[in-house]
Structure formats: structure tokens, C-alpha cells
């Protein structure tokens, strides 16, 4: 909850970006730093994935996950990336290509980019001081594991057996990242940890924008992105310390980069998809199912080029699974129950009556306008339009993915009938499918549009030149979005404690009230981090003559030792003098009971 914690998180995420830059350099390299800036979001997700995979591996082989381990792991990945890049002949990049200028943007696109900026400013305010009180999976599963990792550096089987809200063999990936964030913040600050999810969301959006920037006109890309971001279920989940949206980010970007590989055949694209899918498998158990769905879609979409593409695709799938395998071997070797279906892989066949309700639940949830605001319907239309336009490979890819995801979802709910008990499991599962559709839809529409044109020149969107002509002036609109938060502060907007000033940190100072003339006050002898310390302080206060001194919670995680209910500031002076004479350092505060 402190500025120091936020700064720590910023540094941690820059570190993650640097790790991802190492991975990207080793697999792709870049001639110009402007290229890297475009792919920074992808680099960030790659860094996160690589750290998750390696720290999980370190857990498995018994290396404690501490500050130094994380630092060395990241540094090692960066060095490895640089060495591999050099061996592959990548030369040091230049700042920008000759004649490069800040890319223009249409006024239309700029309006939506500004909207996305405003969205993330609002999200920052919402998450900065969020608690975990209403987040069951946070405090009952992820945070105990993350705190255990933060304190001990390990996840012992005995501990995992005690965290019974999920099976002991549940993948630990998010907990390793949360523990790393705790180290960066300097404490197990579960409040500021919410901001890590803000960084993840930004990383995801930047990754999608970077990958599609040269392929999809902003007039298509940014409205669709914003439409997805404001979907009610996304608003619900984006502010919670769960693993569903992080998994969705990884799967969606992996799905996007995989179809780009099918179309363009660049090795780094397949490598990136492999790493992202593997991290997805270590994020949640559904990660394996969604990884299989993405790969299946890839196989079908590349059927025409199967001689050339299937072998590397099989290798990518095997490598992705192999990177996630050590954890599965570890928990199996320790005799921990797995995370397989509740009814077993065979037992489910004696419950075939559940198949239809499971399928119906999946389809109904996917098409539920109250959850997604028609984003899946838009994506379905995009698939059809791309198919009609002859962009068959991309539309087949998206279509097969949806069918596979719904089919897998049906299997999940068929074999785990307990998941029917409430609505959250299906919402969370379907959210991943929707996110994949959300990133594929702009590409589908752009391809459909281009394919329906007679000439390249006509590939620009229709409408007034003023609205759609690229211009650097449009960035001013984005700047207005950037400044909207500060503008709100200047005009005294009351949200999140901002009126006319800097955001308050809600630290222990919020539990200290300055005395006010003519109001009751209390003499505070001191604050302690525990009752035993407070009791010792209270004894000193008693010995100093403050016989009414008591100790109780201060509401900010400490124990306050104080004498309260004093009628005025003047009457407190005698007690202050007595305490000072005994070597104590008393203060006077307003007594809020007044």
C-alpha cells in the first residue's frame, strides 16, 4: 500500500520486460529499437512466461525461490538470450530506420486509444488499494502459496496438502510470480499486489497491439479491443488476484502468434507460442486443455502445408508440455493427488446424461450478452466474413479453436459435475475462449476487408478523410486521455482520495488523527507491532503514572497504547509531561470516539 511497494512493482515489471527482451533477442532479434518498442508487450509476456517456467523448475529441483534466485534466473535468461542472438548473427540494433518518423494515427483510432488509456487509468485507481476480502481464490489458494514461497522459498508437499481449496498438484506458476512481486515490494503486500494484474493487462494489450499493428488498421483494432475490455465479466475479473485472466492473456497471445506463424512461417513466432503455451500450462490446469485447443486449430489451419508445418508444430506442442512436465512429475513423485477430472477419465462415461447439460452450459455462457456484451457474436461474424472472403485458413483456425474450446469445456463440466454448483467456473473457463476470439477478431475483419478489395489503395477504411487519414496530430487526442486522470484531480474529483492532491497511500498514517481544538483527544504512548510489545509499553506507561493506559488495535495493523477520552488538548499536557519524564515519546491525537 506504499509508494515504495508500487515502485518495487514497477522495477519488477521492468525486470520482467528485460528478461523477455532477452528471450526475444535470442529468438528473433531486432534491427531497430523502434521494432522492439512495438513488440514490448510480447516481450513482457515472454519474460513473465520464462520466469514462471524456470522458477517452477527450480522449485521442483529444490532450489529455494528467493530474491537472489529470481534475480539470477532473470539475469541468466537475459545473458542466454544475448549469447544465442549473437551466435545467430544478430547485430546491435540501431535506434530507428533511416527516415523513420513517429507513426501517424487516424483521429478515429486515436479516440479509441484514448478510451483504452482512460480505462487503464481507472483500473489503476481501482486496483491500487484493493483488498482480497471478496476474492476467495486469492486468499484461499494463491496467496497462501505465494506467501509460503515468499517466506520459505519452497512449496513443501505437506503444505500443499493443507491448502485444500485446490488439489495439491495444481500448477504453481501464478504463485511464483506473486512471490517474486512480494520480494520486489519488500513485503507480502496483498493490496498492492493487485497492481501486478494491472501490469499484466497492459502487457497483454500492448502485445496484441504490437503484433497486429502492421496487419490491422487501427480503425478496426482499437474499437474491438475496447469493446472487449469493457465487457462486464472482464470488468469483474480484471481487478481480482485470480489466475484466469493471466491464463487467458497467455493463451490468447499464443493463439495469435501461432496463426501468424502458420501464415508467415517465422521461427520466432512458433518459439514464442511454445513458451506462452507452456506458461499457460503452469498457470492453471485448464492451460493444458487450451494449449491443446490452440494446437489443434493450428494443425487444421495448416493442413494444406502439413508436410512443412506439422513437424515443427508437433515439436512445439511436445516442448510446451515438456517444459510444464517437471511439476507434474514432482507432485506425482511426492504422492500428491493430481488435478485430473473428478469422475476420472473413464468413470465419466457412466454419466453420459451430463454431456448435454455441459454442452448447453458452455454454449449459453459463450453467447450470454450480459457477460460479454456480444464480443463472441462479433467474433463469430468475423469468422464468417473472413470465410466468405476466402480467408479460409484464418477463419478455419478461429472456428476450430472455438469448437475445440467448447468441446473441451463440455468435457470439463461433464467430468467435473461439481463445477455445476455455481456459475463462476463456467464464466472463468469461457472467458479464456472469449479472449482468444477478441484478439483474432480484428485480424479476421482486417483480412476480410482486404480480401474484398480490388486494389491495395482501396484497403483503407471508408469515411471522411478527416476521421481516417493518418496524422501525428491525432496523438494529441491520446494525450488528452493520458491527462484525464490528472485533470480530474485538478478539478477536485473525489474518486479514490484524489481531490486536488496526490493519491494517498493509505498507510499507517491513515490511523492517526491530528488533534482539533475543543475536541476530545487521546495521549498515545506509542505503537507496537504486536500485543506483547504493546503490553511492555503499557507497563512503562503505568509506571510513569498513566494508570489508565490501555492497548488495542489501531485499525492499521498495529497496537496502539494510549489514554483516551481526554476532554481537550490542554488536559492532555500533564499526561504528556509525565510520559516524557519517564523517557517515553507520547503524542496527542484526536479521539475519534468523540
Amino acid at each position: 500500500m506504499t509508494t515504495r511497494a508500487i515502485l518495487g512493482l514497477v522495477i519488477f515489471n521492468v525486470f520482467v520486460l528485460a528478461v523477455g527482451a532477452g528471450a526475444l533477442w535470442g529468438t528473433r532479434g531486432w534491427r531497430w529499437w523502434t521494432d522492439f518498442v512495438r513488440l514490448a508487450g510480447l516481450a513482457y509476456l515472454l519474460g513473465l512466461s520464462a520466469l514462471m517456467i524456470l522458477t517452477t523448475f527450480e522449485l521442483v529441483v529444490g532450489i529455494p525461490i528467493g530474491f537472489l534466485t529470481i534475480l539470477l534466473t532473470g539475469a541468466g535468461l537475459i545473458v542466454l538470450g544475448v549469447i544465442v542472438g549473437r551466435r545467430r548473427g544478430f547485430t546491435a540494433p540501431g535506434l530507428r530506420p533511416p527516415g523513420w518518423r513517429v507513426p501517424g494515427m487516424s483521429l478515429f483510432s486515436a479516440l479509441f486509444v484514448a478510451g483504452i488509456v482512460v480505462y487503464f487509468e481507472g483500473l489503476f485507481r481501482a486496483q491500487r488499494l484493493a483488498g482480497v476480502g471478496r476474492e476467495w481464490d486469492s486468499w484461499a489458494n494463491w496467496l497462501p502459496k505465494a506467501r509460503e514461497l515468499y517466506v520459505t522459498g519452497r512449496l513443501e508437499p505437506e503444505f500443499l496438502l493443507l491448502v485444500t481449496s485446490q488439489s495439491p498438484g495444481y500448477p504453481p506458476g501464478p504463485a511464483t510470480i506473486q512471490a517474486a512481486a512480494f520480494h520486489a515490494m519488500g513485503s507480502a503486500d496483498t493490496v498492492t499486489l493487485h497492481l501486478q494484474y494491472w501490469f499484466l493487462a497492459i502487457g497483454f494489450v500492448l502485445a496484441v497491439v504490437g503484433l497486429l499493428a502492421k496487419k490491422v488498421h487501427g480503425a478496426i483494432l482499437f474499437p474491438l479491443l475496447l469493446a472487449f475490455l469493457v465487457a462486464p465479466t472482464v470488468l469483474d475479473w480484471i481487478v481480482t488476484v485470480y489466475a484466469d485472466l493471466p491464463l487467458a492473456y497467455l493463451v490468447a497471445v499464443a493463439a495469435l502468434v501461432l496463426i501468424l506463424w502458420v501464415e508467415e512461417g517465422k521461427a520466432w513466432q512458433l518459439a514464442a507460442a511454445t513458451v506462452l503455451l507452456s506458461a499457460g500450462m503452469l498457470t492453471k490446469r485448464e492451460g493444458i486443455a487450451f494449449g491443446a485447443c490452440v494446437l489443434l486449430a493450428g494443425f487444421v489451419a495448416s493442413f494444406a502445408d502439413r508436410r512443412r508445418l506439422w513437424r515443427p508444430l508437433v515439436a512445439a506442442g511436445l516442448i510446451a508440455f515438456a517444459l510444464a512436465l517437471p511439476w507434474r512429475i514432482w507432485f506425482t513423485a511426492h504422492g500428491l493427488p493430481g488435478d485430473g477430472p473428478e469422475l476420472g477419465y473413464v468413470g465419466a462415461f457412466s454419466h453420459l446424461d451430463v454431456v448435454w447439460p455441459a454442452l448447453k452450459l458452455n454454449v449459453d455462457t459463450l453467447l450470454d450478452a450480459d457477460l460479454w456484451r456480444y464480443v463472441p457474436v462479433l467474433a463469430a461474424a468475423a469468422i464468417v466474413l473472413a470465410g466468405l472472403a476466402g480467408v479460409w485458413r484464418l477463419s478455419l483456425y478461429a472456428g476450430v479453436f472455438v469448437l475445440a474450446a467448447v468441446g473441451t469445456g463440455t468435457w470439463v463440466f461433464w467430468t467435473n459435475p461439481v463445477a455445476f454448483n455455481d456459475e463462476w467456473p463456467i464464466h472463468r473457463y469461457t472467458g479464456i475462449t472469449v479472449l482468444v476470439l477478441a484478439v483474432l477478431a480484428p485480424l479476421l475483419l482486417a483480412r476480410a476487408w482486404s480480401a474484398a478489395q480490388d486494389s491495395r489503395a482501396a484497403a483503407e477504411p471508408p469515411g471522411s478523410d478527416l476521421l481516417f487519414r493518418r496524422s501525428r496530430v491525432a496523438w494529441l487526442v491520446v494525450l488528452v486521455g493520458v491527462g484525464s486522470h490528472f485533470g480530474a484531480m485538478l478539478v477536485g474529483y473525489s474518486g479514490s482520495g484524489l481531490p486536488g492532491g496526490l493519491p494517498s497511500s493509505q498507510g499507517v498514517s491513515s490511523c492517526v488523527a491530528a488533534p482539533v481544538a475543543d475536541a476530545r483527544v487521546r495521549v498515545v504512548v506509542g505503537y507496537a507491532d504486536s500485543y506483547p510489545e504493546a503490553m511492555a509499553l503499557r507497563e512503562q506507561a503505568h509506571a510513569a503514572g498513566l494508570v489508565d493506559a490501555q492497548a488495542s488495535q489501531d485499525g492499521c495493523g498495529r497496537v496502539r497504547v494510549f489514554v483516551d477520552d481526554l476532554p481537550s488538548l490542554a488536559t492532555s499536557q500533564a499526561l504528556v509531561a509525565a510520559a516524557q519524564a519517564a523517557g517515553l515519546r507520547p503524542t496527542v491525537e484526536r479521539d475519534p470516539d468523540d
Binding site: 484493493a130 470488468l235 476487408w449
Partner: protein, 145 residues
């Protein structure tokens, strides 16, 4: 097939127009949701952020915070129930306390200097225990004298 091309272009424009309406039209709702969260989170207290509301542990937050402030992190504590049948019905109470008191660990009552008593009155634990916190709704935290 110009007609199909035109239809596709109209379809794409329609999809983008729908996305524009959804995105721009709902952005103010989204920001309002975030503002609501921001205001609620800003006005929340330390304990409201730290502890969840648990139906089976009404009024328990001050007791758990007292317990956290009393017990060192390597402490062990027991969990007892006012009546034996409650233990089965409210078995999750042990789990919630395990999660919220971690890294302190649970132990058998006779080996633990600290104790939570669920559905208890101050007399339930007897003279051997000093009650340090009482939710007023049946949850006690005590120390063995």
C-alpha cells in the same frame, strides 16, 4: 462477385460499428465501475482489506486481528468447538483459520498455548485460559494461563 464483396465490406463495417458502440458506449460504465471500486477500496480499513467476510465466522475479523497481533509467527494454536457436533458441521472453520493465521500452525489443544474457541462462551474454556478477544458472536481467542 462484386455483390459478395460489397456484402463482406458492409459486414466488416457493421462489426466495427457495433464494436464502436459497445466500446465507446460502455466505457463510461467501466470507468464508473472502477471509480466505485476505487472509492470503496479507499474507504476500506486495514482489516477490511486483509480479512474476508466469512459467513460461518460472523464478527470474527477483530478476533483474528487480535490473534495475529498476539501470536508470534512461529506460534501454534488449537481450535476447539463449543459442542462436539459443531466440529463436523463447521469443519471449514479450521481451514479458514489456517489460511488467515498462517504462518502460525494448528496443533492439538494440549500442545498449543493459544486457542480459538468456536461457538463458545467465556466459561467454555474454563479457568486455564485467559480470554484475550471475544467477537461477541461465539468466537473467542484465548491464551493458556
Amino acid at each position: 462477385m462484386p455483390a459478395v464483396r460489397i456484402a463482406i465490406r458492409i459486414g466488416v463495417v457493421a462489426c466495427v460499428a457495433a464494436a464502436c458502440l459497445l466500446g465507446a458506449g460502455r466505457l463510461d460504465d467501466a470507468v464508473a465501475v472502477f471509480d466505485f471500486h476505487a472509492d470503496v477500496n479507499h474507504s476500506a480499513t486495514f482489516t477490511e482489506r486483509r480479512y474476508p467476510e466469512i459467513d460461518s465466522l460472523p464478527g470474527a475479523v477483530p478476533v483474528m486481528e487480535d490473534a495475529r497481533l498476539w501470536m508470534p509467527e512461529n506460534a501454534t494454536y488449537g481450535v476447539v468447538f463449543g459442542q462436539r457436533f459443531l466440529e463436523r458441521r463447521f469443519g471449514n472453520v479450521r481451514y479458514f483459520l489456517f489460511l488467515l493465521m498462517w504462518p502460525r500452525s494448528q496443533a492439538q489443544l494440549e500442545r498449543a498455548p493459544w486457542v480459538f474457541c468456536y461457538e463458545c462462551t467465556r466459561s467454555t474454556l474454563g479457568d486455564r485460559y485467559e480470554v484475550l478477544s471475544d467477537s461477541g458472536q461465539g468466537l473467542l481467542f484465548a491464551r493458556r494461563s
